[in-house]
């Protein structure tokens, strides 16, 4: 290892990029087998995810150790912050794509199918019985379903996530004030609320399938409902795992009021996930 104050820290040769490729290959190879109904697909997927988890644990562990050894200078710090911005930019566009798809389906393609706009001929030729109302499956699908109501679990989950935004902010101020007890309590509360959110969402999905006949096959409403809320739920799960890692580091006393980028990055990510949920609550559940 070598480092001078004005240059980047140069780490030793690392096995982790190769392990990353191997794990992603295993997941995709397994998925390719699984969608074709071939036996070892599931095994490759499980092994791939296990390897990927090991990789994240080990690679982040190396980074934490190097950081705690004081090997990172200001330039490295800046590169971490820039990396965070690029990561979040990709996340913003990821969710914008799905929100955009929902908007397009409800406001553009529905008009064409009801006989408005330059593709109005579609209505005349193919779907002259179609009228636009939301929620619905789309033209050609007859199966009945009940849409998910905004009140009940979704509204309660909004309160849960809003509260978790407050508890992570509580932990944030605790860190700034060098109050480790506050930091740890705030993190534990936030993780608990995150897990509660995911549990309630799983219960909501079960209700949707069993009571409302709202499934992934419920046409365009079912598809957009599950892809938007499902990916958000996945982000809450990943966020809770990241918070758990930060909690572990907080127990070890890794963060100081001057040096805590990892905490702030994860806290910001949690706030982002919370804001996305507000958007989902309004556009998927309410309007």
């Amino acid at each position: 290892m070598s480092q001078t104050p004005s240059n980047y820290f140069l780490p030793d040769p690392s096995p982790w990029p190769i392990v990353a490729v191997a794990s992603v290959f295993s997941i995709l190879f397994g998925a390719a087998l699984a969608v074709n109904g071939l036996f070892p697909g599931g095994i490759f997927i499980v092994l791939g995810f296990a390897l990927f988890s090991y990789l994240l644990f080990s690679w982040f562990g190396d980074v934490v150790r190097e950081n705690m050894a004081g090997l990172y200078n200001e330039r490295v710090d800046s590169s971490f912050r820039q990396g965070m911005i690029w990561f979040i930019t990709s996340e913003v566009f990821f969710f914008l794509t799905f929100f955009g798809a929902l908007w397009y389906l409800r406001n553009v393609s529905a008009d064409w199918l009801t006989g408005k706009g330059y593709l109005a001929g579609t209505h005349e030729v193919l779907y002259n019985q179609f009228f636009s109302v939301w929620p619905r499956t789309g033209p050609g699908l007859k199966e009945e379903f009940t849409p998910m109501k905004a009140w009940g679990v979704p509204a309660f989950n909004t309160i849960v996530l809003l509260t978790s935004g407050a508890t992570i902010t509580w932990a944030h101020w605790g860190l700034k004030a060098e109050n480790r007890k506050l930091l740890i309590r705030g993190l534990i509360a936030t993780i608990f609320l995150g897990l509660l959110f995911v549990t309630l969402q799983a219960w909501e999905y079960q209700e949707a399938y069993q009571q409302l006949n709202l499934t992934l096959k419920s046409g365009v409403y079912g598809s957009t409902f599950y892809i938007l809320t499902g990916f958000h739920g996945m982000h809450v799960t990943v966020g809770a795992i990241m918070l758990a890692a930060i909690l572990g580091r907080s127990f070890k006393g890794h963060f100081t009021p001057e040096n805590h980028f990892a905490f702030e990055a994860v806290a910001w990510y949690w706030h982002f996930v919370d804001v996305v949920w507000l958007g989902l609550f309004i556009f998927v559940y309410m309007l």
Partner: protein, 71 residues
Amino acid sequence: MAMTFKLPALILAALIVFVLAEALYFLSKDHGDKDKTRVARALSVRVSLALILFLLLITGAFFGFIHPHGI
């Protein structure tokens, strides 16, 4: 949704996104200095605005200005 509720809701939503983006900007600039609490402050404002927006939505639905689908 009635305009009485739509406009404040849109303004609040825009403010939430702005403050969140502002916090990200501060995160990229402040390098965790102890005296710089701009990220924490911006995120605190974010939480407060989100709470106000949620209360506005509940109030709107309660008084019949907003009609959530499926009800």
